[in-house]
Every structure is written in C-alpha cells, then in structure tokens.
Symmetry: C2
Subunit: 230 residues, 2 copies
C-alpha cells in the first residue's frame, strides 16, 4: 500500500516463518557458544528441530545470507535474524499481575539476554504492591499509564487471574500498548492493530491429552503418533 524504499522491498515474511525465526536465533546462539563459526542448513535445522528444506525456505525470505557450497557464517546469520526480528535493540515490557506466575516471569533471566527489559511490575492488590520481587518494587496497577509513557513501553504481559485479563488489556490498549502477551486463561478481545499472543498451560496439556488418549485407544498409533509435536 504505502511506498517503500527499494532496499526494503519484498519484505512479506509468512507468519509461520516469523514464529520460527526466534528458534533459529536461539540455535545459532547455542552453536556460537560452542565455538562453531560456520554451519550448513542441515546443521542449523537439526539444532532447531526442523527439516533443512523448511529452514532454507524460511531464510530465503530474509535474503541470501549463506554461501553455496559452504554454508552460513554463524555470527553473521545470527545478527541478520536478530535485526529482522528487532531484538538488536531492547524492548521495555511491563508485567501486570504478580502472583505465582508473574513472580516467575519477573525472575526469568532470559529476558535481558533476548532483547527485553522489564521496566515495571504492577498489581492491583494493595497486599502485593510495595513488595520487592526480583529486585524490583511492585507498583500499583494505576501507575501503568505513567510507566508506559516514561519508558515508551510497547509490550505488556498479562499474568493476572482470568477475570481481570480483559480489563487489564483494555487499559493497556487505551494507553497505547500495541502488543500483549496473555498468560491468563481467558480470551481477550482487542481492536485491530493490536497483537495478542496467548500462552495457556491447560490448553497445551489438553492438546497432549487428546493425542495421549488416541495412543491409549490403540487406534492408528503409527499415523498419528507425532501429530502435535513441536
């Protein structure tokens, strides 16, 4: 629709590919950490748990960063993927809902190393506000707007009980947050232009249970065994 610079052309990366780029990034980091400088698509694919055809197809959407007959320079490809995802910079995030899960998220050490920075922990419960969690003092939910403006937060994490999730999302959206990661077991509705991703423990377990039940029933185990595998 809008005009684009020529260097930026042809940048329509399929959603399925976008979802795998972080996996490749992590696999490349692991390879680099073990001292490997160059890898083939086969090597990287196996480290990422996909087949090499899919990997090469995915990378082809980013550009031509490999060398035929040789493979990929690990550091170079890693940087290109990080740049494409947008994690060469740090993204400020807020976590709302500091119960057991919020606590665990706040303590998650992988944030900083993967392009994210927790700028605030918020909770509506006065009994939790003021406590120190992961070295940060929990602030009242009503401070959300101030914090978002101050740190230019674009990504919010919801770790509240289900009943509160929609209200929190509404407040986030009203204040200008356009990406939400929702851990609450509830569907949240947002206007167009806002991305919501959902992480749901019991849904994942139920998907496993479905396949497990079919295995137990002994029906066609051979054809459906790996149906839900990541």
């Amino acid at each position: 629709m809008t005009t684009r610079s020529s260097t930026d052309a042809a940048r329509v990366i399929p959603e399925a590919t976008v979802a795998r780029l972080p996996v490749y990034l992590r696999a490349l980091t692991a390879l680099a950490d073990s001292g490997i400088r160059t890898c083939s698509s086969e090597d990287l694919a196996s480290a990422a748990g996909v087949n090499s055809a899919k990997l090469r197809k995915d990378l082809s959407y980013l550009g031509s960063y490999g060398t035929r007959g040789v493979g990929y320079d690990v550091d170079y490809l890693r940087y290109q993927i990080a740049r494409e995802i947008g994690v060469t910079q740090d993204w400020p995030v807020v976590i709302v809902g500091i119960g057991n899960l919020g606590h665990a998220l706040a303590n998650y050490s992988g944030f900083r190393s993967r392009g994210f920075r927790v700028v605030a922990l918020l909770d509506a419960d006065p009994g939790i506000v003021g406590r120190e969690v992961a070295g940060v003092v929990v602030r009242p939910f009503d401070d959300l707007e101030e914090i978002v403006r101050e740190h230019d937060v674009a990504i919010g994490v919801i770790a509240t009980p289900a009943v509160a999730a929609q209200d929190v999302a509404d407040r986030m959206v009203a204040i200008g947050i356009t990406s939400i990661l929702n851990f609450a077991p509830a569907v949240v509705a947002v206007p167009e232009g806002v991305d919501v991703r959902k992480v749901d423990l019991s849904i994942e377990l139920q998907i496993l249970a479905y396949h497990e039940q079919r295995k137990a029933n002994g029906a066609d185990a051979s054809t459906e065994a790996d149906g839900g595998a990541a």
Copy 2:
C-alpha cells in the same frame, strides 16, 4: 490402517482443530457458569475469539451436536468436546524442575478443574528436595520411574533450566512417558510416537517484537496489524 468400529469411523480431526477444542471447552464452561443453556455458533465463536464458520467446521469433525434453527445445548456440547479431548477422566502429570516456574505451575489451580492431577514434583537439586511446594513435598528426580509406574503417568512437564531439558526428556521417554510439555528454552529431541509441545516466553515476546518493529517502521500497518494475533 487398523480396523475400526463403525461408531468410531471418520475420526480424523485436523491438528488445527484439536488445538482449538480446549478453547471451545473453556468458552462453553464460561457460558454455562453464567447460566446460559443454549448458544448459537455465533455466540460460541465470539466467546472463543474465532469466526463462526471456523467453529462450525471444527465441530463438524466431532459429529452433529447442534440443532438447525436452534443452536447448541451448552452442557451437552461441553461434554462431547471434553470426551473428545479426553478430559472427562483425570490425567496424572509430574512436574520436573521446581524453580520459580515449576513453583508457579505446581500452584496453578486450573489443573484439577481441567482434567489434570499433579501426582509429584521432582527436582535434582538436594537443596530443593524435601521442601513443601503447593502442599506437596518435592521428591528427588531419581524417583521418577517409581512415581510414573505407581500412578501410570503419561504426561510430563519440564520446567528445568535449558541445559537439563534433554536429559530429563530422555529419562521420561525411557520410562514410558509419551507426552511432554516443555517450558525449558531448549529444543528437545524425542523418538517417534512421543509428543512434545513447547511453551517459550522469549519466543512469544520475540514474535511480538517483530510485529511491533514493523508497526513502528510505519510500513503497511493496515495490512499486517493483526498478523500474529491469537
């Protein structure tokens, strides 16, 4: 391949549909809780955050549980979906790795009500073994086999650091667990016939960051705004 009873015929539910059945189940439970006895595909679809065509197509794989001109009986459909997923019975699960996340998972109250029962918490760290978490005493990882046999556990949850994940998965598979939910930020390889699902905080955040970056760049916001939405 194998012969099936006639009542069991035509049971090939697409993976994308399987992944949505738990969402429908939850939406139906919410409707039932608010006293609604009957709903249309439009009602249920909107509660589940999908469009009604997709919902009806999904339900059609299970059978004909609605009434034309009327809609669906909430309780009846809920039971049918629960039966299809396999959560009319309780599934025993073990959680391995009782750090911050394992702690949060152990305390998650949605387990029991959604068809799962945590039969043991395990950790390899002697400093954690013996502590009481969520009313359960943490046991040594080496007790895994005994516990799995005793409770006939089919589903294992990995909440360890990344380095330990593959070892834990290998032990689980060796002992006969055939479904694994992996929260560790690592790819785990398993033999055919074992299902692994992966939940990864930083991957979800990175997918959001990708879309966020594109919004910020102002490129075609209108066409890709909702690209990664759940």
